[in-house]
Assembly symmetry: C7
Homo-oligomer: 242 residues x 7
């Protein structure tokens, strides 16, 4: 297999793109994120990297606001992610300036996915070593949740996870969400998210130092609000899990 | 043979383009689609990927509307397909804006095929790892059905299939369609499509969760309608096959 | 020899371009075409590929009209051919728009040949894997017949053939055409063409499903007409050969 | 592992970018810098390279003023650093000219980080072999301290170090700074900085010839001042450590 | 030696350009041409390739008119030659349009030689696999004869030859032309040319089907005429040689 | 180590750029230059290459005037140096034309250093195989002396040397200059320069044929004068050393 | 050493550019030229290549007039030389058109040398395989003589030689010219030039067929004249040497 893994422009004999698969390994090696599409919002949860006590905790590590109505969570190479986040923010603002309306969530996701695909198709490039969860709301489709991966694929999900332990986290979530038509409440979603993360990553003592939880909800029918769960709230939910 | 498979710009000693053949393997590894050109329409059927129950089933996985009068089905790398679908949609709208008429179906197919060919002919590129079925209607030629593959070849068909098990599906369809001059009815086409898919892919229990069926028909002589078969309709047809 | 076959920009020690020779192999592997320059026209004949009964027979497979007065037949990679045919059609129309006269046949052939040559001379490219027979008529030289190959060479012929079994077909034709000054009638040309194709390709039962025959003739001294032979006509000629 | 380390556009089988990791080695081989975010300023300290007595000591070796309110310290390839410092200064002035306000510290850090990321993602380039500590002040976030590395990653810190012995220096600092919420005074920061540097680098006799200490403080609430510690001051602090 | 023959941009250890030498092999493998500078004209002679009787003999194979006053003969890759001939014709017409006088012969030869040199000096290119004999007349220098080879060298000659058997042909011509100051008559030149070609290439029965002879002469002191020798004339000369 | 030395865009496993280190070897192989920053000027001295008596001694070999106030000395590949000297002269004049003042010495040195750095960072390039000593005077900093090397690094010095035997020359100079704060007189500098050069390069009989000495001094407070030492002056100093 | 000789952008471990050294071999393999700077002119002499008696001797082989006041002689690849001669002529005329004065000799030499250097420094190129002797006269410096080599180095000389046997020719000339301050007369220079060439190249019978001698002299104080020595003159000088 090794003869075919030196370029993005090289298929292996069985039609695989090895550099894309290796880029996915960069995602697998990173700390996980998950998201759940609830009835009336989207809940993101992520394990923080084990940062030093010298680190400045002012800023989130793994969640980024793209626009008023769209948030993303990231697993993989942070520097690659930063570039795509800048691109997403710029594209989103350009859309607003051109059409005077917020960009539809899937339109943005598709743009970023095509942007990633380009780096799997031309010489002198490597794939982006990063996966995203995009959550957002728009007038036509309400709340939505998408996952993109280094190949440039994307898909809509009710609940999904990226990064290390993603399959285990998905298994854990299937215990709570048994049908893709089911929509849980925001509170259930927070609880399920923290539970799935704790179970699969063996975090001894959960706290807001180790877990980030972000909730997208709608107020006044058109205004999307993104709220980080407080340390107290996380601890409280954790207590109920025991 | 292996010495000649590292670039799209390299013929093997017997005049083959190995990277194109490997790209076709990427198509063969994907879930199949088929289409049948009926008397008064085109019927597409596709096996859905075995998606998780956490997946959001809102959107079709393998069929895309290009323009009012053209639909395509896809097997292969989804991210490659997305790029070409965007290109096809843009080209189609540009034609409409320039000539004030819908693009002829074959003109669009030829454009996308030439676009693919370019990626098999120049350095620093790889072929697109995706095949398409294009179905559509235009004033001059009525309903038409085309298949394109990663080499940039395309051809017109009465019934054809792409993706995994494509030869077996073609064999199954030949039992129903015995001449290339024969045109079946839309209802027959749906039945034959589901039958061919079921027989060859060993789907235990057919339902709209596992199979997608899309029908292109004409209303008011110039208006093309694309309709997904309902779960009930698919189940009913499946019953008649037993 | 193998050290010199990895690029179009690499001569072998004995001054050969191996990638061009391999591209010619792609032509040799394809179904054959032939053409005969008659007194008052040009006759093309081609073996159809053994297509499935599911194939839509509406369109010719191997012959293409370039302009009102020029037709070509193709052996080799169809997707490569499509690109060059588009180029030829565009160049031909540009000539008409610029000079208000039909392009001379050799001018077009030379343009396409130089276009092919370019792909044998620069890095990051591969030769076109396709040969053409161009037949046409112009005021200065009357009916003409040219053959081009992947190297970008072209030459004028009284009767010639490309694709698989081309040498055998040429031998068969030499039995009918014994001098390059000889011009046969259109009817003789059709008969000789079908005979040469049948003898060399071992087609068991000839019919219009397996053979295409196209005739270029002149009406009103300046109007070129291209006519496909009907299935009945082909069968009748075939009868006379037995 | 060695097969995957020849280009920035090549992932290893486990998703690593070896050239980026080797570039980090260039940083590790360089003399260290550290910085501490104090209550009311930022303190930088660096070990000078062991320069000849023939060297002209007029200019700092490892600390550079980017703008009135931003300073950086450097470990790694000096020539690579010079280029990025020029880029940072230009970008900062362009921001001032465009928006008539000082550039926010993180905006500049993000720009330089994205600039570095680009050199890890495209062919024909190598990563920048240099890490930076950026310290600065702006209206919205007050004093801030960031670290960037050759991959294009950046993060905010309360106290951090780059270059050789960085992990040992970080350990030493953790003895003084026990929580990321803690902010020490400028005077404490100076003392801790010199102590951490002396302990880990085994500098026999500390003096301003061997150590540079730079302090960013605020006067008149909006004016940032950068002051080098005098030799006397450094010696005095060193005395207190014994 | 083989390590140095993969690119035009690579000198071998003894300062040779192997790809240029291999391109010269492509010339050596082709049928020969010769030319003789006579008192009042230039005579070209060439062995035709052993073409099929199906070939259309309407056009010369190896001699091309560049402009009213310049003719060239070609040995090597025909498709490469066609490109350079087009370039020479265009350059010649551009000169005429710019300066309102015929291009001096050496100016054109130098232009084509520099054009060839470029393909021996830059990456991503290969040398032109073709040599030329340029004959022509201009006001300043009268009739002239030049030879160019794949390296981009050119030189003026009284009698010279390119292609296969060139050294033998040169030897044969030295029997007739014993000094470079000597100019033979046109009739002698024709006889010597045919004799040299026949002796060295072992053509059993010479005729205009196997040999082309072209003569450049001057009428009215400024009008250059190019005349192909008739079959009868060639046969007559051949008779005198026996 | 050898696997990592084929490109400027390739770090070795321990973070070194081998091509830059090899370029430094090209400097080490060249004849040495030295310079000393005196109280009121700069003194350059260089060993001339052992040139033939057929060489035209009209021009200096190793010292170049960049502008009225800046001089440089060179060790390494002369052709590489010429290019950078042209670049420096042009940049210097552009500065004068733009700002109507002489370019500050360090600004020019930084520009040339960044120019060099670029050739260590991008594909398809090699480092410049040349080091420079730049000496000059400007209003703000008075007389200054800088050294740049192939990596694009530069630094300010009181006395320094480049080329072969540079470490030995530096050792010799340290006997005369014992602190970086010390500034010798111009006459001392000349003597020390010649002494250091003679001791380390074993020049049997020193004369102006073997050594060049150039002095930058200031007249009228703003006018910089560059004077070559005469043969007599060099011999006189040499006498005093014995 | 061989690992480092495949590109102009690759230093060997000891800082050499092997492709430049190989290009110098191409010069060494060519027939020699020499030149002597006399009191009142420059004398060039060159051994002609052993050309066939069929060669047209109308044009010089190795000496070219660049402008009214500059001549050059060439050893190496003629096709490379032609390109640089065209470049030199164009640059010289551009200078005249821009400044309305003849280009200074060294300015032209420097331009051509920088042009050569560029081909030793960037990827996708090879060095020019040619050395030049440039002789000329200008108002400021009078008669001058320069030599350039494939690396882009150039230097001024009183007497020098390029091509095969250059060291032996230089030795021979040193017997006549014993100091670089010495200027011989034009007549002495001619005699010494022929003598040096004859001694070192073992030309049995010297004549104008085997040796070219060109003299640059000044008439009317500003008009430079270039004169080829006649066969008689060369023979006469040769007689005096015996």
């Amino acid at each position: 297999m090794s003869r075919y893994d030196s370029r993005t422009t090289l298929f292996s004999q069985d039609g695989r793109l090895m550099q894309v698969e290796y880029a996915i390994k960069a995602v697998t090696a990173a700390a996980p994120c998950l998201a759940i599409l609830a009835e009336d919002g989207v809940v993101f949860a992520a394990q923080k990297k084990l940062v030093s006590k010298l680190s400045d905790q002012r800023t989130s590590e793994k969640m980024y606001r793209i626009d008023d109505h769209i948030v993303c969570a990231v697993s993989g190479l942070t520097s690659d992610a930063n570039l795509l986040i800048d691109e997403a923010r710029t594209y989103s603002q350009r859309w607003l300036a051109t059409y005077d309306e917020l960009i539809p969530v899937e339109t943005l996701v598709r743009y970023i996915s095509d942007y990633k695909q380009n780096y799997t198709h031309h010489g002198g490039l490597r794939p982006f070593g990063v996966s995203f969860l995009f959550g957002g709301w728009d007038q036509r489709l309400g709340f939505q949740l998408y996952q993109t991966d280094p190949s440039g694929n994307y898909a809509a999900w009710v609940a999904t996870s990226i990064g290390g332990s993603a399959p285990e986290i998905a298994s854990a979530m299937k215990q709570y969400i048994t049908s893709n038509a089911q929509r849980v409440t925001i509170d259930e979603a927070k609880k399920y998210a923290i539970s799935a993360l704790v179970k699969t990553t063996y975090i001894a003592k959960v706290s807001s130092e180790k877990i980030e939880v972000l909730t997208l909800t709608l107020s006044n029918k058109t205004k999307v609000t993104a709220t980080y769960a407080t340390a107290a709230e996380i601890d409280a939910i954790y207590e109920t899990l025991a």
